[in-house]
């Protein structure tokens, strides 16, 4: 599997340049304080403890945001309605990352997905169940949230998403 990330470069017309003086240096960045308003997340985090999902909805364009949003960029108004959404979703898009497992040192294939929950208009980054064959991932794949045993009120309460049977039919 380590062959997966082996860098094999293609040949190209190279030119050598004279090396002039170089001074090594580093840019130590200070610690920063990023400020966020997270009041709009609180109701959702509370509901996550009950293993339920809620999203907020813009009264201007009726779009449903999960995770909730502070402002609707289309209408420039604060979404002020809370709606329940299901814990079933679909894969909006995916890519396969090749990540090194810190324990074994092996490179593993891992599908990184964006999920769009049924009833929501936005998608967010998530993980698929471990063990799932990456070749089986596709756009529009129906999935369902896999909850942690003890929900603590954080997005990590949904550990990953399990695939569920796809009953979609091809259009004749």
């Amino acid at each position: 599997m380590s062959k997966l990330t082996q860098r094999k470069s293609l040949d190209y017309i190279k030119k050598d340049y004279v090396r002039t003086r170089t001074m090594p240096g580093s840019w130590y960045l200070s610690s920063y304080k990023f400020r966020f308003n997270i009041t709009h997340h609180q109701p959702m985090l509370e509901k996550l403890k009950e293993k339920k999902l809620i999203a907020n909805q813009c009264s201007g364009c009726n779009r449903v945001f999960f995770p909730p949003r502070l402002v609707c960029g289309q209408c420039l108004v604060k979404p002020d309605r809370w709606v329940d959404i299901r814990d079933t979703a679909r894969v909006a898009t995916y890519a396969i990352a090749y990540l090194k497992n810190p324990d074994t040192g092996q490179v593993e294939e891992k599908p990184m997905i964006l999920v769009q929950h049924d009833g929501a208009d936005t998608c967010s980054i998530a993980e698929l169940a471990p063990g799932i064959n990456v070749k089986d991932t596709y756009i529009g794949m129906p999935i369902k949230a896999h909850w942690k045993e003890n929900a603590t009120g954080g997005l990590m309460d949904i550990e990953y998403y399990d695939p569920i049977p796809d009953d979609a039919k091809d259009i004749e």
């Binding site: 470069s9 840019w27 960045l29 990023f34 966020f36 779009r63 999960f66 890519a95 396969i96 990184m112």
Partner: protein, 415 residues
């Protein structure tokens, strides 16, 4: 209501992974000299104002425009710096255009310069620093630091483009071979261009498909390089342009449009752009720029296109979103030779961003090459006469697009 603006020249420096023989101001100077060389009647003292830009975090040098003032010839002259990430070059070019069209007293000729010397610093750190401010909020939502860094590693420029690629591939029903064909097109074009970085005259589709995946569906051989390079463009008024060169290139339309950011979204709230290859920003920017230029049938009226495509799937996508091909038909156009040097619509004959990517300069090199193709002075000149061409830029989290529409006639619709 604004003056008609013309491009009279554009210049480049040699691009490479490590330009160890020059420092940043010297690199910039090379491009400026190449630009001015093409207009013998003009000296550096004839330039009234300067616009410049790069991505400072990538090199680790803050305010580089101040210490390279002398190398630009900008001492004691109006100097403006703009930085917009991947589209920096495109924005610098548009700012150059604005400077001239505004008609300020004493400002007729403006030199726009965009550059990047990536070998000086660490681009991935620069990219992470721009993303971290947005992502760190996920920490407060209960996502621990380990998962966060994993998301970060999968969410950098390649990461977001990989999502876009899977979406486009499933929509257009194409295989990796179609992506590799675009790469081969670009790299072989680059071989005929003296300043390009990855010049591969004999590259084949098989060789590209033989390289390992970096992130499915993108393979190592399909990715853009990290280059050192600079680009300069000279803008002036319609009247002055006629004295400076034989075929002035008129800028008939410009646009810079941002849509909602894809994949990560702001404040960790995800994105309403559930299909990263939908690219409403690109469609809107082409709509705006074409209407300014009076172009109603882009497919018929545009003779040459330079699009910003670090990854092959993007080249296909942009050509469709900018109205040059019907949806999902771009892969066929590469197969049947429409986009070749002698085809109906030559695309990226400079080798494109896929072969040369000095991030800050890339989005300016697109309109620069597109302008030179109209003048007939490009380094990989297309055999047919080019009347109208476009130069496109992309940046942000898949959401910001710049576009410049140029022609050999001053056809701007608004006066």
């Amino acid at each position: 209501m604004g003056r008609q603006v013309a491009i009279v020249s554009a210049g480049f420096c040699e691009h490479s992974s490590k330009r160890s023989d020059v420092n940043m101001p010297e690199l910039v100077n090379e491009a400026i000299r190449d630009c001015l060389k093409k207009v013998p009647s003009l000296g550096i003292s004839d330039i009234d104002a300067f616009v410049t830009g790069n991505m400072p975090a990538f090199e680790g040098a803050n305010m580089p425009e101040l210490w390279s003032t002398d190398w630009m010839g900008a001492r004691n002259k109006p100097l403006l710096r703009v930085t917009t990430g991947g589209t920096t070059g495109g924005t610098v070019a548009i700012a150059g255009y604005y400077n001239v069209t505004a008609g300020l007293p004493g400002i007729d000729t403006v030199l726009a310069i965009a550059y990047e010397q990536q070998s000086q610093g660490d681009t991935s750190v620069g990219l992470a620093s721009t993303a971290y401010g947005e992502i760190s909020i996920l920490n407060t939502l209960g996502i621990d630091y380990d998962s966060l860094s994993r998301i970060l590693s999968a969410g950098a420029a390649i990461g977001v483009a990989a999502y876009q690629a899977t979406n486009y591939m499933s929509k257009a029903r194409i295989t990796e071979e179609d992506l590799a064909r675009v790469v081969v097109h670009n790299r072989r074009m680059a071989a005929k261009n003296w300043w390009a970085h990855l010049r591969m005259p004999d590259l084949t589709i098989e060789e590209v498909l033989d390289t390992p995946y970096v992130q499915y569906p993108l393979r190592y051989g399909m990715l853009c390089p990290a280059s050192d390079g600079a680009c300069a463009m000279l803008f002036t008024t319609e009247e002055k342009a006629k004295d400076m060169c034989d075929i002035p290139v008129y800028v008939n339309g410009v646009a810079s449009v941002a849509n909602e950011s894809a994949v990560l979204g702001y404040d960790g709230s995800g994105s309403a752009q559930t299909d990263p290859s939908a690219q409403i920003g690109a469609m809107r920017s082409s709509e705006l720029a074409y209407s300014q230029a009076g172009i109603s049938f882009p497919r018929k009226e545009i003779d040459y296109a330079e699009v910003y495509s670090p990854f092959p799937n993007q080249e296909l996508m942009w050509l469709e979103k900018l109205g040059l091909f019907e949806e999902t038909t771009a892969p066929q156009m590469y197969e049947n030779g429409t986009t070749a040097l002698d085809g109906d619509l030559p695309v990226n004959c400079s080798g494109g961003v896929n072969s040369t990517n000095a991030i800050g300069a890339s989005a300016m090199e697109r309109p620069a090459v597109a302008a030179l193709q109209i003048m007939g002075k490009a380094d990989n000149q297309v055999p047919k006469t080019v009347h109208t061409s476009i130069g496109h830029g992309w940046g942000g989290s898949l959401n910001l697009c710049t576009l410049m529409v140029m022609s050999d006639e001053p056809k701007r619709k608004w006066r």
